[in-house]
């Protein structure tokens, strides 16, 4: 099963990315685990420079931006 993690300490952008990802997953009907990562030590473990970030199965996809639901669907499918 795919595991998606949204990295971000919890600011407005991080929340938006989480909501967008949630919608993208739902609209695609993906069977996956979606998790919000707020622990800074874990976030820094992924070596990103800016938040929010998106991790799929342990691989960072992007950081520092909030793509639209459509763009996320493209990435996830």
């Amino acid at each position: 099963m795919t595991r998606i993690e949204v990295l971000g300490p919890g600011c407005a952008n991080c929340e938006r990315l989480y909501r967008n990802t949630e919608r993208a997953v739902k609209e695609l009907g993906l069977d996956c685990e979606l998790e919000k990562i707020t622990d800074l030590n874990v976030i820094m473990g992924y070596r990103i420079l800016s938040t929010p970030g998106l991790v799929i199965d342990g691989v960072v996809q992007f950081s520092g931006r909030v793509p639209s639901v459509e763009q996320l669907k493209e990435l996830l499918s």
Binding site: G8, P9, G10, C11, A12, N13, C14, L40, N41, I43, M44, Y46, R47, I48, L49, S50, T51, G53, V60, Q61, F62, S63, G64, R65, V66, S68
Partner: protein
């Protein structure tokens, strides 16, 4: 990628059309506001109410128009600067050159305050000196497109340029001073144990289409978020404009009151508001006799330093370094205030 040229070809004419519309709207604003106030509402020119209403009806669309244009432009420019690229530019630069570059890059690198910690760690572990990192962290929130657009719209280009110039100067000098003080031991030790390097993100070639999209996205995001503050700020400003007597502020925030600069800064530091809310109010105060330096210092203090950011930075900085950071930046802002009161 075959569809991208056609999408760009469609995007450009609509952007050009939007720009023409923008220019046309901007040109008729003043007359439209006067017509709305005097002819449509039938308010007599010279009354408090007419003065306040006309101010509001003119300034609100003007500021929103300017904000939209500037945010779009900066959004496109920012697509050229990622934090990763900024870090690569700053790594290996000597300290003073680094401070100047870091402050300048702070304007154009996308940054939100909750990214402060990852960025701080990422910079330090890449070998960027502490002081250079601080120059970036001071400049990024303080000198931003929203503040510059509002200053330009309400105060004119001179004040906007002064804010830009002095904001950069504070960031450069404060960062340099922090670097000279050799405070590395007051960074939480775990920071230096974090591994350097980057996430190994695949290199992404950004197309012009994506850059323009990023500009539009910035408009949706930023203007969509700050317009209520602009409205409230200008409404309060309009109230002050219409009803507060001339020179009311002169005794409190005027040039004569030497203590007004530090007091304004001390009040401003813990306050947390974005530029959109504070600048229209400050503009109205200036009209009523407050001194430019005092007002500018207050504004900088509100925008540059905030309690939430300090709380976030506490995760990586020990109290001594937090205190030095606040102290150095506050002193810089106070000096800017005095400089302007003396110059203008």
């Amino acid at each position: 990628m075959s569809r991208s040229p056609s999408r760009l070809a469609r995007l450009l004419p609509s952007l050009a059309g939007a720009l023409l519309l923008w220019v046309a709207l901007y040109g008729v604003l003043q007359r439209a506001a006067a017509w709305f106030t005097r002819d449509l509402l039938g308010l007599d020119a010279g009354t408090h109410l007419a003065s306040a209403v006309e101010f509001f009806v003119y300034e609100t669309p003007k500021v929103l128009l300017l904000l939209t244009l500037v945010v779009f432009g900066v959004g496109v420019v920012r697509s050229f600067f990622t934090p990763e690229r900024t870090r690569a530019i700053l790594a290996g630069k000597a300290e003073s050159v680094g401070n100047v570059l870091a402050a300048a890059l702070g304007i154009v690198t996308p940054f939100c305050s909750c990214s402060a910690v990852p960025l701080f760690i990422g910079f330090l572990t890449a070998g960027i000196p502490l002081g250079v990192t601080f120059s970036f962290l001071i400049s990024a929130p303080m000198v931003n497109e929203v503040a510059l657009a509002l200053l330009f719209g309400l105060f004119g280009w001179k004040v906007a340029a002064l804010y830009l110039g002095t904001g950069l100067a504070v960031a450069i000098v404060a960062g340099w001073v922090i670097g000279r003080l050799r405070l590395e031991r007051h960074v939480e030790p775990w920071v230096y144990q974090m591994s350097a390097g980057d996430a190994g993100l695949p290199a992404h070639r950004t197309t012009w289409e994506e850059r323009l999209d990023q500009g539009l996205e910035a408009v949706r995001d930023i203007v969509g978020r700050v317009w209520p503050y602009v409205l409230i700020g200008i409404a309060v400003g309009a109230g002050i404009h219409g009803w507060v007597p001339e020179n009311f502020m002169a005794s409190i925030m005027g040039r004569g009151a030497w203590w007004s600069v530090p007091l304004a800064v001390l009040i401003g530091v813990p306050m947390y508001s974005n530029a959109a809310g504070i600048i229209p109010v400050v503009h109205a105060l200036l009209e009523k006799g407050a001194a430019l330096g005092t007002v500018l210092a207050f504004m900088m203090a509100v925008i540059a330093l905030s309690l939430p950011e300090v709380i976030i930075l506490r995760k990586v900085l020990r109290p001594v370094l937090i205190a030095v950071f606040l102290g150095v930046v506050t002193t810089g802002i106070i000096l800017v205030g005095y400089l302007f009161n003396w110059l203008m």
